[in-house]
């Protein structure tokens, strides 16, 4: 098991941000935590089916990393994706309804927990097959660079964040994606959310050089960094300069983001492969508490305000569950929509989910509007 080592103290960029930004981070992390607690309950209550993987413990990674990029920068991840979707701004109603298998879900109930997509927020999915998102991430980076440089004749403006688990280090797809990103000079950051385990396999049992996975990047001549993912300050402070450099140089970077999942791999995991002490060691030094304490110490948060925030979030998540409950099941016709873009034979063309309609209704004018013509059904 890797214990998160404290990397070099970087310039504390996060501490210089306006307090309301840090308050927003706290809010985002609390939202993910509460959402996941409720997700677990809903799963027990059989409102959610299939495989379900919660993000509790890793909140600082999704929130800190998305804070270090801009909204236009694409992100993509694996199946443990609720945190990334929420950090990117997905309304929890759409995420919850998706897991409830309802029409109001971000994919109209067709994707489920492992496959959350949010086009208006440039979130290119949750992906269920370990490692599969790595070549896709490479493709996103290729496309942003191509648009900026080949089609618009300018220079690259966007950075892709491609998240992966430590288990994905052992997939061919990861290695091919790393090599391609290197060869093609693609503006992508591969963020390995190294929580020490892939299911019941400790990284040292599954990965050579598991104690130092940045050696994988070295093999591809790629810049890399080790970041403590159990503290949103270190995440942001570590990521921000990397993101800036990636944007400027259009060269790929690999990050060993040391983190921990407090809960089991999925909803049916007795966690016999690790000790209670190890779990407690991380939980007692909780990522959310750390930020809340800091804000209080600095005088940016009172106990009362914190309690109020917690209550507000509880209400918001509960409302999302209610909304999901009330959202109808998808019409059986939905089986035959979205198979092909055009109507053809038994296939019914496409129809946008609520999440896209809402964004359009709100006049959310992204600069990549030309890629959206498939939403006009």
């Amino acid at each position: 098991m890797t214990t998160a080592t404290q990397p070099q103290a970087e310039e504390n960029l996060a501490a210089k941000l306006p307090p309301d930004t840090l308050q927003q981070w706290l809010r985002d992390m609390l939202l993910i935590r509460e959402f996941e607690v409720r997700t677990m309950q809903a799963y027990q209550d059989r409102k959610i089916g299939g495989f379900c993987h919660v993000y509790i413990g890793q909140e600082a990674v999704a929130v800190g990393c998305t804070a270090a990029v801009e909204h236009k920068d694409p992100i993509i991840t694996a199946y443990r994706d609720h945190g990334h979707a929420l950090a990117r701004g997905m309304d929890p109603r759409y995420a919850m309804a998706e897991m409830y298998g309802k029409i109001g879900g971000c994919a109209k109930g067709k994707g489920g927990s492992m496959h959350l997509f949010d086009k208006p927020n440039n979130m290119f999915g949750g992906h269920g097959i370990v490692g599969a998102q790595c070549p896709l991430g490479t493709g996103l980076a290729f496309a942003t660079k191509y648009e900026d440089e080949v089609m618009k004749g300018g220079t690259n403006t966007r950075v892709t964040l491609c998240f992966l688990g430590d288990g994905a280090l052992n997939q061919g797809a990861f290695h091919e994606a790393m090599n391609l990103a290197g060869i093609l000079d693609l503006p992508i950051i591969f963020i390995c959310e190294n929580n020490g385990y892939s299911m019941g396999t400790a990284i040292s049992r599954g990965t050579t050089m598991g104690h130092n996975i940045t050696s994988k990047a070295a093999g591809y001549g790629m810049e890399s960094a080790i970041i403590d993912g159990m503290d949103i300050f270190t995440v942001y402070n570590g990521m921000k300069p990397l993101v800036d450099r990636c944007r400027d140089t259009s060269r790929p970077i690999f990050v060993d983001m040391r983190t921990y999942r407090y809960k089991g791999h999925s909803m049916s995991d007795p966690r016999k492969y690790r000790t209670k002490e190890e779990e407690q060691q991380y939980e007692s030094n909780d990522v959310i508490d750390k930020l809340a304490n800091w804000l209080m110490q600095e005088g940016h948060l009172t106990e009362d305000a914190y309690d109020k925030l917690v209550k507000e979030i509880r209400k918001e998540v509960r409302a999302s569950m209610k909304w999901a409950d009330n959202s109808p099941e998808p019409d059986i016709k939905e089986l035959y929509t979205d198979v092909f873009v055009e109507e053809w034979g038994p296939f019914l063309g496409t129809s946008p989910p609520q999440i896209v309609k809402d964004a359009e209704g709100a006049g959310n004018d992204e600069d990549d509007d030309e890629t959206r013509e498939d939403d006009d059904d």
């Binding site: 495989f51 298998g101 489920g112 097959i129 288990g167 052992n170 061919g172 299911m199 396999t201 990965t207």
Partner: protein, 327 residues
């Protein structure tokens, strides 16, 4: 001595008995050893056989599938577990390009006695990436044997046959059946490939299926019996080799045929069987062969959509009624 055990225990017993008899047999896959199997199929096997023969792998399907094939070329008898056949797709080159063609490509020098096994088909709201039924897709490739067990008894006997077989075998289990109980003898026995099993005799319509949907066929046959339609249900056991003779024999008796196939309809096991039955039973059939497949769409997550997409007893009943002009 028959006793009632779970499907997963029957699979384990087949593997363990072969491993006791033959040191060339080993089990490899994700979480098979220390975790006791993601679905507890290999529970206790690490304790009995040790880490040199029950081997945990990283999430590297292409790597360990290929490793198994190489070991089989050297004469070992690997059992490679895919946590799900859905994940075998990342190993497609190894299992489709190498395993089935090695013997041919080497002019008979290097065989490939290997078993790939794991969960196939919808596990229940797993979404499109995790709900693959690979039988139709992989059956297109010459050189593989593809087996779908339906009961604990069948599972133990068929898996033993698979391990003893000198050719590559794809053994397709179902997560939904692992807890199913049934009578299984303790002593080793083999159930042959390419020999369909008559699950239920009948005179009015032949229903052919493989794996889990065989149980839906039985359910449908019971419903239809009440309407006076007496169905004959065949469990094909293996799609390759296919026991077309048994199907033909049954259709010549009943004059009607419904094929139930949990994979997609296009270029599928069911379309293959329909084609062969049309050719062999042209004069015997009183209607064209009817097919029940999963809908021709990716597997959806939502419960109601998934239920609608998959074959079930209701759809089989409807197909039989339609095939026998009693709709």
């Amino acid at each position: 001595m028959p006793r009632e055990i779970e499907f997963r225990e029957a699979l384990r017993e087949a593997m363990s008995q072969c491993m006791r008899d033959d040191p060339r047999v080993f089990l490899m896959g994700e979480e098979v050893a220390e975790y006791n199997g993601a679905y507890k199929v290999s529970k206790g096997m690490l304790d009995e056989f040790g880490p040199r023969r029950v081997i945990d792998t990283p999430i590297s399907e292409n790597g360990f599938a290929g490793l198994g094939i190489g070991a089989a070329m050297m004469g070992l008898r690997p059992i490679i577990e895919f946590m799900s056949w859905s994940f075998s797709l990342v190993a497609a080159d190894q299992i489709l390009n190498n395993a089935p063609k090695m013997l041919y490509m080497s002019g008979g020098q290097f065989g490939c006695p290997i078993v790939f096994r794991g969960n196939n088909g919808a596990g229940g709201q797993l979404g499109s990436t995790h709900s693959w039924c690979v039988e139709s897709l992989y059956a297109n490739v010459p050189g593989v044997k593809i087996v779908l067990p339906t009961t604990p008894y069948e599972a133990k006997g068929l898996l033993r046959t698979a391990i003893l077989d000198p050719d590559p075998v794809f053994f397709l289990e179902s997560e939904r059946m692992l807890g199913m109980k049934g009578d299984v003898p303790e002593e080793p026995y083999e159930v042959p490939f390419g020999k369909a099993r008559i699950v239920r005799e009948g005179t009015d319509c032949t229903i052919v299926s493989f794996g889990r949907p065989v149980h839906f066929c039985i359910e449908a046959a019971e419903t239809l019996e009440k309407d006076g339609i007496d169905c004959e249900v065949l469990d094909g056991r293996s799609v390759r080799p296919l026991d077309i003779d048994a199907i033909v024999k049954s259709v010549r008796k009943t004059n009607y045929c419904v094929v139930v196939d949990q994979a997609w309809p296009f270029a599928s096991i069911s379309s293959e069987i329909a084609s062969q039955v049309h050719k062999r039973c042209f004069d015997d059939l009183d209607n064209h062969v009817h097919r029940v497949n999963a809908d021709d769409v990716p597997a959806p997550y939502a419960y109601n959509l998934e239920q609608e997409m998959l074959p079930n007893a209701r759809k089989i009943v409807e197909a039989v009624r339609s095939a026998t002009y009693q709709a």
